[in-house]
């Protein structure tokens, strides 16, 4: 088919690759994505017979309209931050730890075990012991899948995910069985912890010391990643495992260490939830914090400071979601909004690497 002559039509919009990812768009796009997601949510709300503006206004008021709303937003952000920071370290090394939920439950279990087994310890021993038990159990739960991954390359996505169910069912077994509070009217929860086993709170709100843990963890993580030898190794392995091996970096050892840190942070989230909020172990202690944490870490591009900010955004969504449920909006709407935000941010990602070129070029 010699001499194929192709028509000279040129599309009006073309993609052009950016030489460097644009810094400006890296900020604008997530913001635009949130707005677009709210827009989609509005269409959905309108279609189901609600006034979207009213619903959003209620949501906003529920979050920033009262001291309670604000403090609840902080309260809900604490586990999200810790778990989000946890998964982000693992993700940075290309370890897809989907198991923050299970590590959260095991952390809560570890802390609860200390509180229930030694109820008479004074606070200055009790809280550190619970802290250690929480991070230890979370860490162990993440190292379990890390070992086969490091030794035989067993895919950690599956193993971490499966261990979530084990952890959740283990806690359920305890609260429905041996640890059930005899005075609890048959509800699936343990007896309340002693006063010594509760985290101090701030200024009459429910905001507890866990907030300090989370902020310190973010600072610590940033220091580890960008100021220490270990962090350097993590970044090199994450960017190029081949170069890491070439440089003599021990990849297997780092898989285990990083998963340990990742799980410990999620475990700490579980510990601070039982010691700070519920003051007992109970069924459904996490409404999916460990999964939301994955979305948060991803949206924040694994950056510790950004994870803190994005956690507030998501906890605001959760709290705002509760407040609109009173006016009949289903809880699932909030999950849908979260999904829509993620969808638009990831979709918009392409704009940081490509540029849209408008206008007609020559071509007759």
């Amino acid at each position: 088919m010699a001499g194929t002559s192709l028509p000279g039509r040129v599309p009006v919009i073309t993609w052009e690759k950016r030489l460097e990812p644009s810094r400006l768009t890296a900020v604008i796009i997530p913001v635009a994505a949130v707005i677009l997601a709210l827009g989609v949510g509005a269409i959905f709300l309108a279609a189901t017979g609600f006034n979207p503006l009213k619903v959003y206004q209620n949501m906003l008021e529920g979050v920033i309209g009262s001291k309670y709303g604000l403090s609840e937003t902080v309260v809900k952000a604490i586990p999200l931050m810790l778990a989000g920071l946890g998964v982000s370290v693992a993700f940075r090394m290309l370890l897809w730890n989907i198991g923050a939920e299970g590590q959260f439950y095991m952390g809560a279990f570890g802390a609860s075990w200390v509180a229930l087994t030694f109820p008479h310890l004074p606070a200055y021993i009790m809280l550190p012991a619970m802290f250690l038990a929480g991070i230890a159990m979370g860490g162990v739960w993440a190292v379990l899948p890390a070992l086969p991954r490091a030794r035989w390359g067993v895919n950690e996505v599956i193993t971490t995910l499966m261990l979530n169910y084990v952890a959740i069912l283990w806690v359920d077994y305890l609260v429905y069985g041996p640890w059930k509070d005899p005075k609890g009217f048959n509800f699936p929860l343990t007896a309340p912890f002693s006063k010594a086993a509760t985290l101090p709170t701030f200024a009459g709100t429910r905001i507890h010391l866990g907030l300090v843990f989370a902020l310190l963890a973010a600072v610590l993580l940033a220091i580890i990643l960008w100021r220490t030898r270990w962090g350097y190794e993590i970044r090199v392995i994450g960017e190029s495992p081949r170069a890491a091996r070439y440089a003599g970096i021990k990849i297997e050892r780092n898989i285990i260490l990083v998963m340990l840190l990742s799980g410990a942070l999620a475990g700490l989230a579980g510990m601070s939830e039982v010691a700070g909020i519920t003051h007992r172990l109970q069924h459904g202690i996490s409404p999916g914090y460990g999964y939301t944490a994955i979305i948060i870490a991803w949206l924040a591009k694994l950056h510790p400071a950004t994870i803190i900010l994005v956690s507030f955004l998501f906890s605001g969504l959760i709290v705002g979601g509760y407040s609109v449920q009173t006016s009949g909006v289903p809880a699932a709407t909030v999950s849908m909004l979260q999904g829509a935000i993620l969808f638009f941010v990831l979709g918009g990602e392409i704009l940081t690497r490509y540029r849209l070129h408008f206008g007609r070029k020559e071509g007759k």
Binding site: G3, T4, S5, L19, R229, Y232, S240, G248
Partner: protein, 505 residues
Amino acid sequence: MAVPLVEMRGITKVFPGVVANDGVNLSIQAGEIHALLGENGAGKSTLMSVLTGLYRPDGGEIYIDGQKVNFRSPRDAIAAGIGMVHQHFRLVGPFTVTENVALGLKGGLRLNLNKLAGEIAALSKEYGLQVEPQARIWQLSVGEQQRVEIIKLLYRHARVLILDEPTAVLTPQEARDLYRTLKKMAARGCAVIFITHKLQEVMDAADTITILRGGKTVATVKKNETSEKDLARMMVGREILWQVSKPAARKGDKVLEIKNLKALNDRGLPALKGINLTVHTGEILGIAGVAGNGQRELAEAIAGLRPCQDGMITVAGQELGQCDPCRVINAGVGYIPEDRLGMGLVPNLGAVDNLLLKEYRHPRWGRVFLNRLAARDWAKELIERFQVKTAGLNAPVKLMSGGNLQRLLLAREISNRPRLLVAVYPARGLDVGATETVHRLLLEQRAAGTAILLISEDLEELFRLADRIAVMYEGEITGLMGVEEARIEDIGLMMAGAKRMEVSA
């Protein structure tokens, strides 16, 4: 004169900040081998990306068989019979050769891989492109992968075949085989365009030559009306000095000693079948050989990246043991790997982090914390000393040109003051200027007393740099001689396995 098969008129392509092509003209007849000659950054690859529909020109026209075309995507270019073998191959590593050829073929859901494998075997026989249809891509040497790329195009009946620096990965023999293939294709009425900056290659293979410089066409000449010297002047825009002065070797103590080394390749087949070699201080031992005869495995075994089946490697009397890159680095071995951006450097990290890659364990940066300020100063000094052009100390190094990447890599490996430097294809894909730099740095290291093992497929390079040349064929050393008594013909025969000499390491 017949209507040219391909004609590009006044092609202009602008990237932010750079005019890559500025009114370039190119005209190619069916049945000719046309070289596109120019230094890195002259705009050769951009021009070919325009021809293959990858980029849209900002100005200019393309005619195929005298008819104007407008390629909106590579698909249009492929439909018009234009195919390209890129420098970085477009192959799927875990797939077999046959499966790679099958990718993107039209013809519905039915796929008869056995029939296709037969056709591939026939094609490879017809054009002298030796490759096994059932082999998986990741197991193949770079040279073999290139053949797969060419077969892909032949299978799709490409009439215009573009090769981007094809011989950068080949030996003289392999290159000659390639030329033969290209001539066969030209004889069947195809047009072959190859991009290069090697003059020798142009004189060996091309019929017509178009020279580009700074995004503009300098001239189009017939091969038999020009000379290497003229081409060099047109390409670089000034006279260049070819002579690299090499002082006499001051050969000293044994540094690297390899005894009866055996190792497997990625396929699990023997790649090294009992290698014996020694390299002394202040000496460059060159290893010649066709790609895929065990050179990569040898370098990786020394670097501790590949387990040894048998034998032993000692550096300065210290045995390296089993597969521990960290220990090898500490023994004072520098390694410039074949794959700069894939192994030697971390593409998304900056120059400082990349320079630290082997240094960061040194206690002077701190035991737990990395003193980044000190590291930055140190990196800045190295970058200046080795004249690396960066976009900033922390800008991702993947933005740098090939020559600068290699300078950065050399800066790191040399600044460690290695006892032994293993360099694999160190000048591959570099332009004349960068090649000169790499050669000068290697000779400086030799003068400073480093033992250098230079693995190269460029015989010219080996003759210029090496003190002794060993030839590798199918995992064995088939010849070892001083460079003075070496003759290209003998080495060629040994590389092809047609001749061997008794070797005593």
